[in-house]
Symmetry: C2
Subunit: 437 residues, 2 copies
């Protein structure tokens, strides 16, 4: 079999860059059997790197200047694995300007500068692929753009940040505190020294904005994505939710409604029997509800050197396959350029969902009646209400409630009124709840 | 946006044919937004059909002779939804002979005549797509051929027959008998009047042979696939397995080992915490273990009119995209033609797994010792042994054991010896067990 040679220039030789070299070397034969291609990394740019990464790979020029890679006339595909907004954006645009196809694992870049990058690629007749940007090794981009192409996608709910899921899984399994588990996650290398992107839902919002764009054929709306982190989840909320038959997961949720598209990342109670509720540790999973096929779920490693590289190399293979056939390429955003519709994002006040509430109330007669009356007057119907008498402390007891479906604006106002009651102490804890059915 | 028109000829207007028309009509706009194509069914062949299926679809000629569809010069893609071996095989080959691309949902056809059909397509420069043949609406074919293309796939374990999974789920949830649930499944339309293909694992073996071919780049080996049905599973085995922390699922398993490829469909105990163990009712799921990304799982509806049609139309979209670009097509079996390797199938005697055994033993002292000694002499180590004294009947009690990993040949011989013992009555029940880790 004569192999067609495809030349790759790598930007970045860190965790994912090293993994990509690893996959290309270790599975060179399997990849050639599948594709008929010889995928060769001919050059790379890195400020510093471990030379052992290049063992067994012949003739790779390593520069400390990315410019030499993006402008190398022999390079067919530039693979950007630096991460972050800048200079990744400039390098990617420069690569496109030189007529290179681009593969990237950079969710922050695509979520914030995707439109600019896709437009530049369109003008130059090259393609930009970013499977590794969402849910690591799970082929969710391909699924949304191709596998489900016959469907109108209705909503997506995903566990798309492994760090957050590890923390919540540990809190549930071992009754540990958020900050305690976070420290361990940092020691294990699952969480960054500055964990803000992970635990505040920013990383998940990047991925969610990308998925929404591909699912609904709309622009990238990271800036309009609501985020609420998991830092204020307490072990007792995990316990109470469990007793009521729910688990708390940090979900990215996007939904097409008559009013527009919901885009939100927040801790969420989901019924314990759902597959998504049983995705634990650092694993990711994305549940997609489509009109024809119904619910489908995709599960796997959402991060890590080799899983992410698996997605990067799948992209390289796809790009190589259609390199000489522009008309056979799937559009970057999964929809034809002229067909992208600017669907408005539904303001958080207007979303509808159900809620878990935890109040600290005075342990005196009539409290339940007072609170029930307030809720009834607001038109809120309650699915379950539980007062934990045995958890009484200083004359206060926890009161936990689950509401039926309602508008967030009404809930916000109700929480404000509840906090004004004499019998309620401190802030009301509110966690949104989704049945995913 | 000017749409490119793609003409489709349908063979069969039954459940999936009707669903395909439905998807194409209801989602015509979304599909055009994604693809820039207008996918039009221009003709169809059916012996009998419901004319309402054609409501809202202009200018479809319906023939009772498939020949008129496969030879129609205006048709670009022939979609075969008749099912069964013949005349589906002849129609598909005839369509290829006329230079048509083919999309089919026919697992029996691909599993048994795939090689012949792929060779014919290769000779004519057309493509054959069959996403709907495995796990209905789950895009598992695309995942194996493209999403995981950077990986060496190690093994696959799938719940790939919805009827069987519905029966086992009901048996577990409600303690019902196999035959009782089967009757209900037939009334609900989940099971055929002759349920052999579903409950004996033949349907699953068709799908497994196809997945193995794409995963490992080997010929289709349906004839060499071991099948064991679920007809002899008793409610008490479901209960005992549950008490030991396992669920019984009818799995299709294929594994690449040093000795070759294992290809087997049989009832299987799997740990209750695994996602696959929590896939219930008629739903399907496929767990794929690959070397770089690790385990990934794909879940969704494995049958039904619209879910299957979702996969059929995704294939039509893929075929249309690469219609004018032969070099950008993914090969039918996911590997280049010259790269398919004839890997031998490992005989069942040689596979290694662990086992659940249930014996009916005399309720007398020394039985456990006698059986333990026999097992120890055979070199079998036991993970758990449980005698259900309270289930004693006519002086016999059930004895349940879980073994460690061992060779099937040794287990067969051991079962033969156990059945010769005076203290053991009747046949030993043996169910294979996989940890999927």
């Amino acid at each position: 079999m004569t192999l067609k040679r495809v030349n790759i220039g790598l930007l970045g030789l860190g965790t994912v860059g090293g993994g990509t070299l690893n996959v290309l070397v270790r599975n060179a034969e399997e990849i050639s059997r599948r594709t008929g291609n010889e995928l060769r990394v001919t050059c790379a740019a890195a400020k510093s790197y471990d030379p052992q990464q290049l063992d067994g790979i012949a003739d790779v020029s390593v520069y400390d200047d990315a410019q030499q890679v993006v402008s190398d006339p022999d390079v067919d595909i530039v693979v950007e694995l630096i991460g972050g907004y800048s200079p990744a954006r400039e390098f990617v645009l420069e690569a496109i300007r030189h007529g290179k196809h681009v593969v990237t694992a950079n969710k922050a870049l695509i979520a914030t500068h995707g439109e600019e990058i896709f437009a530049a690629a369109r003008d130059k007749g090259v393609t930009v692929a970013f499977e590794a940007a969402v849910a690591g090794g799970i082929p969710i981009i391909k699924t949304l753009r191709e596998g489900l192409a016959a469907n109108r996608i209705e909503w997506i709910a995903g566990i798309i940040n492994g760090t957050g899921n590890f923390i919540l899984s540990e809190m549930r399994d071992k009754g540990r505190d958020f900050s305690d588990v976070l420290q361990e996650a940092q020691q294990l290398g699952y969480a960054e020294v500055d964990p803000t992107f992970d635990v505040e839902g920013i990383d998940a919002a990047h991925k969610l904005a990308i998925m929404a764009s591909l699912a609904f054929g709309m622009p990238l709306k990271f800036d309009e994505t609501f985020t609420e982190g998991i830092t204020r989840i307490e072990p007792r909320d995990v316990t109470y939710a469990g007793e009521l038959g729910y688990r708390i997961k940090h979900l990215g949720i996007t939904k097409r409604t008559a009013a527009g598209v919901e885009l939100r990342v927040h801790p969420t109670l989901i019924p314990e029997g759902r597959l998504l509720a049983n995705v634990n540790g650092v694993m990711n999973a994305v549940l997609v509800k489509s009109d024809m096929v119904g619910p489908t779920l995709y599960y796997g490693a959402g991060a890590g050197s080799l899983p992410t590289a698996s997605a990067v190399v799948a992209d390289i293979i796809d790009v190589a396959r259609t390199m000489d056939c522009p008309e056979s390429r799937v559009p970057c955003q999964g929809f034809q350029d002229g067909a992208i519709e600017d669907i408005p994002v539904v303001p958080m006040d207007e979303i509808e969902t159900s809620y878990y509430l935890r109040l600290s109330v005075r342990d005196v007669p009539g409290v339940m009646a007072e609170i029930s009356t307030l809720l009834a007057n607001a038109g809120i119907s309650i699915e379950a209400m539980h007062q934990y008498e045995s958890h009484s402390e200083n004359g206060r007891v926890p009161l936990v409630m689950l509401t039926h479906h309602m508008r967030e604006k009404v809930m916000n106002e109700t929480i404000r009124q509840l906090e004004l009651l004499d019998v309620v102490e401190g802030e009301v804890v509110r966690i949104r709840m989704e049945h995913l059915s």
